[in-house]
């Protein structure tokens, strides 16, 4: 088996603020293999975006500290890189798309200008002289606009971001993220701000383009339905920890962790339309300054045992490829 594209090991991130220490990530392990789409699911504020920023080297310094862990990208630890070296990794090796396509483009420049900015960087890094090669850059821009299904690329590239709809702008962002043919793309809730029909189109587009350029994806979302459509593997996060990890079918058919089960129960199912109320998880997401001791989910968990508040469960493999962090599955 080839080595994984990204291996996050034992990563912790702490934010030092006036209100105290926010333990945004606690000993996270994530592995992304070649051409794999990993879905990262969790409620707001559980640390999903922090993980993406940590991989990008864009944690807000000096408030963020990384007390432990490593982020290994194709054999080297990104945490040991300087800012200059990270600049070379961003965009070409690892790229990222965000939730708000409406504000992700500079309002002063045309779509074509902004796309060619990334395409120039890519060509430059492959050693081509782009200064005298405007035609080639332009052709590449048009090519990518076609690949993300933007109609009439020749005239669209002369237009400004405000003339584009949210879905169109997200397509531009995807083109910018993939134009450099990165090995890994981080997608931070890329479809959450779009309406459902656009969402489906964007998801399909991402999936097909990613397999064309053979990139791996870390797909962050709070929406299990979205992740179900795109991911190969799913990791469920709660209060800065990964509580369960399994293939997408396994998560939906055989969820083990009480939190995952509760998440799935809070989604409407086709067969149960008559049931008037949806189940919700009691309580709320813990404040990251005061994460409950032991298993962070125990105050809200219906299966909590006496041991839960004191023992922090480890992420253990219960069957092939299915890992869970819960005492219920510990072998006696």
């Amino acid at each position: 088996m080839t080595e994984p594209v990204l291996q996050v090991h034992d990563l912790s991130v702490v934010f030092q603020t006036f209100e105290g220490r926010y333990n945004a990530l606690n000993n996270i392990d994530v592995t992304i293999n070649e051409s794999e789409i990993v879905g990262l699911v969790g409620e707001s504020g559980c640390g999903k975006s922090t993980l993406a920023l940590a991989v990008m080297g864009l944690l807000p310094r000096p408030h963020a500290k990384v007390p432990s862990g490593s982020i290994t990208f194709r054999g080297t630890n990104l945490l040991s890189y300087t800012e200059k070296e990270m600049e070379k990794v961003r965009g070409t090796d690892i790229s990222m798309i965000f939730q708000e396509p409406l504000t992700s483009l500079d309002p002063l420049f045309t779509i074509g200008d902004q796309l060619s900015e990334t395409i120039r960087i890519k060509l430059q890094r492959t050693g081509e002289n782009v200064r005298w090669n405007a035609g080639k850059v332009r052709a590449e821009v048009v090519n990518w606009m076609k690949r993300v299904d933007l109609a009439d690329p020749e005239s669209a590239m002369e237009r400004y971001p405000h003339e584009f709809s949210g879905g169109m702008r997200q397509r531009v962002m995807i083109a910018m993220a993939l134009a450099a043919e990165p090995r890994l793309m981080l997608a931070d809730e890329p479809t959450s701000a779009l309406d459902v029909t656009t969402q489906v189109q964007i998801l399909r587009l991402v999936k097909s383009l990613v397999s064309e350029v053979k990139a791996s994806v870390l797909f962050i979302s709070h929406d299990l339905a979205v992740v179900a459509q795109i991911a190969d593997k799913v990791a469920v996060m709660y209060a800065g920890m990964i509580v369960e990890e399994a293939s997408v079918n396994e998560i939906f058919e055989n969820p083990l962790h009480p939190y995952t089960q509760a998440l799935l129960n809070s989604f409407p199912k086709e067969k149960e339309v008559k049931k008037s109320r949806l189940e919700s998880i009691p309580g709320s997401v813990p404040n990251l300054t005061h994460i409950p001791t032991g298993c962070p989910f125990h105050p809200r968990c219906g299966f909590a045992k006496e041991i839960c508040p004191s023992a922090k469960p480890e992420l253990r493999e219960t069957s092939a490829g299915h890992k869970v962090a819960c005492v219920l599955y510990d072998q006696p």
């Binding site: 000096p62 070379k88 990794v89 961003r90 965009g91 504000t103 309002p107 990334t118 960087i121």
Partner: protein, 263 residues
């Protein structure tokens, strides 16, 4: 707005073509025609040496325009660049830059300019240099404030993840997006710069005789203020009108750029 623009357009014409249109030689001494009150022959009268005040006001305009524009343009360049870098990079760089600008802002601009001008000695270039010392920090502050808020915006974040270097982000995304408040402030400021430069000339630190310069003319005429008011009052009114016109234009520009001020 129309008043400001039309006045400035006329002024620009005067600055460019004035030298070839003046009715009298502005440095020609004519002892037969001293202290003449404003009339159809001499629109603004004549001074103690019989020189035509109108001609002198006109030929002084390129000098004052040069001073005003140089001070503001150079300040905009220095201030915008330093302020944007400081705000965007943040941390210790920001802290250092801002303490330096604090030092300059703490001393009144005019006092600083006078001290520097005295040290450098009289002359038009020295007036510009002396004013610059205290002039750029305001622009650095303004640019920094903009950079701080822009830095958090999503499109800067996406430029970062696209692998665009820091330097390029500052030049291509921070500065252009931050430019309209700076432009408005600079327009308002040109009037001030001319005013300050005139003050230095009035104190004898700027233009030297026989060169015509508005501030200098006010100074030269004040001895005769009681008998021949026009020698200093008229150049003074010219300074006032120019400063006012740039203020009106700056206001208009702000209204145009910022929809909140639109009626």
């Amino acid at each position: 707005m129309a008043v400001g623009i039309s006045f400035i357009v006329t002024s620009i014409a005067v600055v460019i073509f004035g030298n070839s249109l003046v009715p009298y030689d502005p440095t020609q001494v004519n002892m037969m025609a001293t202290f003449q009150a404003p009339s159809l022959q001499h629109f603004f009268g004549t001074d103690n040496l019989g020189r035509d005040v109108f001609s002198r006001c006109v030929v002084a305009s390129p000098v004052d325009a040069e001073i005003g524009f140089s001070i503001v343009l150079i300040s905009v360049f220095i201030g915008t660049f330093l302020g944007s870098c400081s705000g965007y990079i943040g941390g210790k760089v920001d802290e250092t830059f801002m303490r330096i600008t604090d030092v300059f802002i703490a001393i009144p601009t005019l006092v600083l300019a006078v001290v520097v001008a005295v040290a450098l000695g009289p002359g038009i270039e020295h007036v510009i240099e002396a004013n610059l010392v205290g002039w750029w920090p305001v622009y650095a502050r303004l640019a920094r404030a903009g950079a701080l808020s822009l830095k958090e915006s999503q499109f800067i974040e996406s430029a970062k993840v696209a692998g665009i270097s820091r330097y390029k982000i500052i030049l291509k995304h921070i500065i252009p997006n931050n430019f309209s408040p700076i432009l408005v402030y600079a327009t308002l400021d040109i009037g001030n710069a001319i005013l300050y430069a005139s003050v230095l000339s009035y104190l004898g630190l700027g233009a030297q005789p026989p060169q015509a310069e508005w501030g200098r003319m006010v100074y030269d005429g004040q001895v005769y203020l009681v008998n021949a008011w026009w020698i200093s009052i008229i150049p003074g009114l010219v300074i006032f009108a120019v400063a006012l016109a740039f203020n009106l234009l700056g206001d208009a520009l702000r209204d145009a750029f910022d929809p909140r001020y639109r009626k």
